[in-house]
């Protein structure tokens, strides 16, 4: 995560505009240029290594899209499908790498989203790490007593040995989490925020340019 001087609201509008634009591109060249620009931004922000980490998953998904579209349609469509997924995925990656969950939730609240919904959404992002650790512990506990949960057909049969404890613990953790949030004033009316997001002139310029560009591209 790196800091950013832009207001999350302007970044969010720019992201949505970029997604619309990328969805409307009909040529592989436009997509390739957009992808190139995004890669330059990533390099400029020194996020190359993190992006390569993302590419493990995103690259696999893009490759799958490429194969399916290639088999169903033609090579150009396949290239465009893969490039579209890569560019949109990379745009979202840039947004989340430069926007903390706290800043995002504050921005969403400022945009009128209800606080309980926004907070639970961002808090659940923290919860993912806890659940990943639990999955590893559960897998180890079951393997240690001989239950084959790692691979193969037998693992499929014993899937409940992984899913059962995980679900039960996830519900339990969610309950504990809700209790802990209540105990720190989650439901209080009139909450104030440590950082109040502030739209600068530059933010307004980004909002106008990106929204304008999206409208023009869609109309054309």
């Amino acid at each position: 995560m790196i800091g950013s001087s832009l207001d999350p609201r302007s970044k969010l509008i720019a992201l949505l505009a970029a997604t619309c634009i990328l969805m409307t591109f009909h040529g592989w060249l436009e997509l390739a240029i957009a992808f190139g620009i995004l890669i330059m931004v990533i390099l400029l922000l020194r996020l190359g290594l993190a992006w390569l980490g993302l590419l493990k998953g995103l690259g696999f998904a893009a490759f799958t899209f490429f194969i399916i579209a290639g088999l169903a349609f033609d090579l150009v469509t396949a290239i465009m499908a893969a490039l579209r997924l890569l560019t949109i995925g990379t745009a979202f990656f840039l947004f989340f790498q430069t926007t903390s969950p706290e800043a995002l939730s504050n921005a969403l609240i400022k945009m009128g989203a209800p606080y309980p919904f926004v907070f639970v959404l961002t808090a659940s992002m923290q919860f993912v790490h806890v659940l990943i650790r639990r999955v590893i512990s559960i897998r180890d506990a079951q393997r240690a007593r001989g239950i084959p949960v790692e691979s193969g057909l037998r693992a499929f049969r014993y899937f409940p040995a992984l899913a059962g404890p995980l679900l039960i613990q996830a519900f339990h953790l969610a309950d504990e989490l809700a209790e802990a949030m209540e105990a720190r004033g989650f439901g209080v009316p009139g909450r104030r925020f440590r950082y109040e997001p502030l739209l600068t002139l530059f933010d307004w310029a980004i909002i106008v340019v990106s929204a304008g560009a999206a409208v023009i591209v869609i109309l054309i």
Partner: protein, 553 residues
């Protein structure tokens, strides 16, 4: 008056038993109170009722009245009560829900509606108080267990509550972490905050509290100064007594010392016989099933190395364990104890060196094959429960491993008190019962080596006694037992051999007394000798100095 319970009874939805029953008590400002009792005695419910989570969050049937700073908790929502009393929950993972430590600390302050200036001022103060400066930008999920607990405590302290409640804060801490927490609690107390601490491990905090309340089946059974309470018969309440109190009781001495100084003073002042204590210690130092190493090694490790993300976690471990030994693996959190234990059943494979368990090279043997010979009872039994009945839960492992012996399993059910529970869902059991199910599941394939990971964490005295008996029976059967534990008092009484692991290396190996006498290794492992050992040493020193003759009968 800070907190008052007026004839409070409460039961959770869908249950018949009262979690707390006709509870009447007052906690005064500046008081420091320890709440003790067996599992299910209502300690955690008391905490929740104090801040209004019971009944607002949990619903259920509530009778009587709780007054927090004069506010009736039934009449005020939790978000009005939280500024008066803060609760640090047992599980730090489930109370850190922000993306950074800083945001975590600020969350409650935002709830209070403070200005940015006030938030910054309070953040700076609490950061300094708990030494969180270096952690402030980190994400909570990257912290160690002790660090998470400090952050959870800081997040509550930032609210400046009049009462601070802590639910089993010492459960997951190593001895150094426990010492740090004690220091912090003393600091908090000096700020005039009333403390209510719920804890099974009484000795961890008993010297720092003014009052001890014993709960049993939701009722307040004894209440008074710690010495006065522990002078009485507490045997029906399942308390895990402080080691010196336990020792004095075993010797029939009616005193309740909490520290070595107090014990020596009592022995001196009351003309008690130190020799009787030394004899008692000698008689009890022979642990059942001491190493019959001539029976051949169960574990042979040579120059074992293991790295996690390029960080060496095990560094050249050499180890031999014999049949029938009970070995305690001790050391601070992150020293490599669990990593070493996971090598023994093949969950982890060494990067370098060799490891043979019951003659099988773990690098070339699958986990499922090793599972037939190595049983692993995990700290959290909930990690393995997935069947609809206790019977199926326990028998799944042996059936998969084709090692099902009905006679052995029936004996196991009987031995662990599971026979009446066999058709019940494992999810409906208490935590202690779940632990017993996990022990049965680990023992069902009749393993030659059994590893218990923090088996006493959060457990009451009856459970600890049962576990001790089970360990001794396993040893008598010729099975090797490994205890991975921070509970040195338990390890000293039931393990015949201690191994200290520090920074991935075994730095001490020997009988508990020999290891505790190795001051350098104990300090490097972040450990302190047990109180019983310290007392014996103090008495021996006294005898050397010739003072002991004065008090000898």
């Amino acid at each position: 008056m800070t907190l008052r319970f007026e004839n409070v009874s409460y039961r959770y939805p869908g249950t018949d038993a009262w979690a707390i029953h006709d509870l009447d008590l007052t906690i005064h400002p500046d008081e420091s109170v320890l709440v003790a009792g067996a599992s299910g005695s209502g300690k955690s419910t008391l905490c929740r009722a104090s801040i209004g989570l019971v009944p607002h969050f949990h619903q259920g049937q509530f009778m009587g009245r709780v007054l927090l700073e004069g506010l009736d908790t039934r009449q005020h929502p939790v978000y009005q009560l939280f500024r008066h009393a803060g609760l640090v929950f047992q599980n730090p993972d489930a109370q850190l829900f922000n993306h950074s430590v800083e945001a975590e600390l600020a969350y409650g302050l935002e709830s209070l509606g403070l200005s940015s200036f006030d938030i910054e001022e309070r953040l700076a103060r609490v950061e300094k108080l708990l030494g969180l400066e270096s952690l402030i930008k980190r994400s909570p999920h990257t912290l160690s267990g002790g660090e998470k607990q400090r952050v959870a405590l800081a997040a509550i302290l930032a609210l400046r509550p009049r009462i601070l409640l802590l639910d089993e804060p010492f459960t997951h801490l190593d001895p150094e972490g426990a010492e740090e927490l004690r220091t912090t609690l003393r600091l908090i107390r000096s700020e005039g905050i009333a403390l209510i601490i719920v804890e099974h491990r009484l000795h961890e905090i008993i010297t720092d509290v003014d009052r001890l309340i014993v709960l049993h089946q939701g009722e307040r059974k004894i209440d008074g100064s710690p010495h006065a309470v522990l002078s009485r018969d507490t045997s029906p309440y399942g308390l895990n007594l402080p080691p010196l109190v336990r020792l004095f009781r075993a010797l029939g001495w009616g005193k309740t010392p909490f520290t070595i100084e107090e014990a020596v003073r009592e022995i001196d002042a009351n003309h008690l016989s130190p020799q009787a204590l030394l004899n008692f210690q000698e008689q009890n130092s022979i642990v059942v099933g001491s190493p019959p190493s001539t029976l051949g090694p169960v574990v042979e490790a040579e120059d074992l190395w293991f790295h996690y993300k390029d960080r060496p976690v095990l560094r050249g471990v050499d180890l031999k364990l014999g049949q029938g030994e009970c070995v305690a693996l001790i050391g601070r959190n992150g020293a490599g104890k669990t990593t070493l234990a996971k090598h023994l059943n093949g969950l982890l494979k060494p990067d370098r060196g060799s490891l043979k368990v019951l003659g099988q090279d773990t690098r070339r043997t699958s986990v499922s094959k090793l599972a037939r010979h190595v049983g692993f009872a995990w700290q959290n039994p909930n990690d393995q429960l997935f069947r609809t009945s206790v019977r199926e839960e326990v028998l799944t492992g042996p059936r998969v491993l084709q090692a099902y012996d009905p006679g052995w399993c029936n004996r196991l059910f009987e031995r662990l008190g599971l026979t009446p529970l066999l058709d019940r869902s494992p999810f409906s059991l208490s935590e202690g019962q779940k632990k017993r199910v996990s022990f049965a599941a680990a023992l069902a394939p009749q393993p030659g080596l059994i590893i218990f990971d923090e088996p006493t964490a959060g457990q009451d005295d009856p459970f600890r006694r049962e576990l001790a008996e089970l360990i001794h029976e396993l040893q008598r059967d010729g099975r090797t037992v490994i205890l991975v534990s921070h509970d040195l008092e338990f390890a000293a009484r039931h393990a015949s051999r201690w191994l200290i692991l520090a920074e991935g290396q075994i730095i001490a190996d020997g009988s508990p007394d020999a290891v505790m006498a190795n001051h350098t290794a104990m300090a490097k492992g972040g450990l302190r000798p047990t109180q019983r050992f310290q007392l014996i040493q103090a008495l021996k020193e006294t005898r050397k100095e010739g003072k002991i003759d004065r008090v000898l009968p």
